[in-house]
């Protein structure tokens, strides 16, 4: 009958009564996990949108040739494109086709197409390298020299407020996730203390039999981890269901910006790992709480 490593085994887990340790704790964790999943998904989605926005507008300018005479307009467009092709730091030049312009203007002008005498500006999207974007005034001057009717819009300038809003929302989502982690930890602390009070007489007997604090803490850790796992899976399941529903609604809107806030597989894997993180957090918090409480007993 040689004693082995001093920890309670499979059959000894019933040293604490079966069933949930602290009543509502799994459900509170489920709610926390649900909110954490939503906040984390929002943070990840907004991060994707910010990256997409950055990729779309980063260092991009749009040149409009606003000239009523179609011949002059076309001539200035051609020379502007030629000039751009010879400028250092220009990565891509794309003249927006009239069909695309027609599609963009369709909500305002109807489906009848652009009339021949309607002076629609020529639009040219230009992607610049970062160094060239830093010399935007020189590019602006070079274009105006050859195309006086050119208006140059820095896309980043008018999309900057949107980018700032997205970044602010990302920080907010991150803060919410951190708050949820804190609230979950506080819930576990309260549950662990309640469990200790409930089982104080059993703990005293175990101590007098020679159980170490770590042995006793392990019993509680395991039970709290199971409660946290249950709550985490329920919270993740409901959260994922809600996210799928929201995703379908966003998809139906057909918005490019909202669509870019979608969650790729990697993001879903991060969300799926949240319950595991919750279990680890709950176990650590429970262990520290219980060991500190036991340390005050003889």
């Amino acid at each position: 009958m040689m004693p082995r490593m001093q920890k309670f085994g499979e059959a000894d887990r019933r040293l604490l009564p079966e069933g949930r340790l602290a009543g509502p704790m799994p459900w509170v964790i489920a709610i926390m996990m649900f909110l954490t999943v939503l906040a984390a998904a929002a943070g990840l989605g907004l991060g994707n949108a910010a990256r997409s926005l950055g990729a779309g507008i980063g260092n991009r300018i749009t040149i409009q040739i606003v000239e009523a005479n179609p011949d002059f307009r076309e001539a200035q467009a051609r020379i502007a494109i030629t000039t751009l092709q010879h400028l250092a730091g220009v990565r891509a030049i794309r003249r927006i086709e009239s069909s695309e312009l027609e599609r963009l203007l369709k909500p305002w002008l109807g489906a009848g197409g652009l009339e021949a005498d309607l002076p629609v500006p020529v639009m040219i999207d230009v992607d610049l390298r970062a160094d060239a974007y830093g010399r935007l005034d020189l590019i602006r001057a070079a274009i105006r020299d050859v195309a006086p009717a050119a208006r140059i819009d820095d896309n980043a300038q008018w999309l900057a407020p949107l980018a700032k809003l997205i970044n602010a929302l990302r920080w907010l989502a991150t803060a919410l996730v951190l708050l949820m982690i804190g609230a979950t930890a506080a819930t576990v602390v309260l549950a662990a203390r309640a469990a200790l009070d409930t089982h104080r007489s059993t703990i005293e007997v175990l101590h007098l039999m020679g159980a170490t604090d770590v042995q006793v803490a392990r019993l509680f850790q395991r039970r709290i981890a199971l409660d946290a796992l249950f709550g985490g899976i329920v919270g993740l399941g409901v959260g994922a269901f809600v996210l799928v529903l929201i995703g379908r609604r966003v998809g139906a809107l057909g918005s490019e910006l909202l669509g870019s806030a979608g969650l790729p597989l990697g993001n879903w894997l991060i969300l799926a790992a949240l319950p595991a993180g919750g279990v680890v957090l709950a176990m650590l918090v429970a262990r520290v709480t219980i060991l500190r409480a036991l340390g005050r007993m003889l």
Binding site: M1, F8, G9, E10, R14, P17, L208, G210, T212
Partner: protein
């Protein structure tokens, strides 16, 4: 290595115990329990017997004085070393302190589980012990369904299952019939002969006559009534 000073397993020197800011419950206790001895602790209700036992089974630290247990000073010992000492002690509590949600079997197996004994290794000794105390057929019963005497026998079985070096019993025969009391005293005697040091707190004067070579400690209002030791080491009768 178990170091026991000059054959004594317990040494008290000028030990006092005070709960909170009240008067001392125990005062100036100085005595030793020799290794392998069998001692009775007597005294009226409120004399401090249970408090003295709490000091012995490490549920309480004294307010003053020195206590050496198994040769080591346990007053200043860090608490993380106490579990190792507690495993060398078996305790029969006056109120039994059985774990309510555990079966009789699991209550008796508790010290073995705490010590890390495998489930397959504890089945036989626990069953044998339950049979010995007459509870072989109640192994799955919960404490609430047992009579006072049965609970007491479970508490005794739990205290002795791990073959402790020091057995401390607080009124161990208070709730059992005379026949069972006699059997339990035989069990204690047999354990004592195997080397277990035993101290029993009791009101029952008849118990004292059942153990031939006992020592006696008598407490009176928190103090030893026999500070010279003459009473706790009575002269042996001829032939003993």
């Amino acid at each position: 290595m178990r170091l026991v000073t000059s054959g004594s397993i317990v040494q008290f020197e000028n030990v006092g115990l005070r709960y909170g800011t009240g008067a001392e419950t125990l005062s100036d206790l100085t005595f030793t329990l020799r290794e392998g001895g069998f001692s009775f602790l007597t005294g009226q209700s409120g004399a401090g017997k249970t408090s003295l036992l709490k000091l012995l089974y490490l549920a309480q630290r004294p307010s003053r004085g020195l206590i050496r247990l198994f040769g080591e000073d346990i007053v200043t010992m860090p608490r993380n070393r106490l579990p190792g000492f507690r495993r060398r002690i078996g305790v029969v509590f006056q109120d039994f302190q059985l774990v309510r949600h555990l079966s009789t079997f699991d209550n008796v197996a508790l010290p073995l589980r705490v010590a890390g004994v495998d489930q397959r290794d504890l089945e036989t000794p626990v069953r044998e012990m339950l049979n010995w105390v007459g509870l072989g057929d109640r192994s799955s019963a919960r404490p609430a369904t047992l009579s006072g005497g049965e609970q007491q026998r479970v508490a005794i079985a739990r205290a002795v299952i791990a073959r402790p070096e020091l057995l401390i019993a607080d009124e161990p025969t208070g709730n059992v019939d005379p026949e069972m009391a006699s059997r339990l005293m035989h069990l204690f005697d047999a354990l004592n002969k195997l080397g277990t040091t035993i101290i029993i707190a009791t009101h029952d004067i008849h118990l004292l006559s059942r153990i031939a070579h006992h020592e006696m400690l008598r407490l009176d209002r928190g103090q030893l009534a026999d500070p010279t030791g003459a009473l706790r080491n009575p002269p042996r009768r001829h032939g003993q």
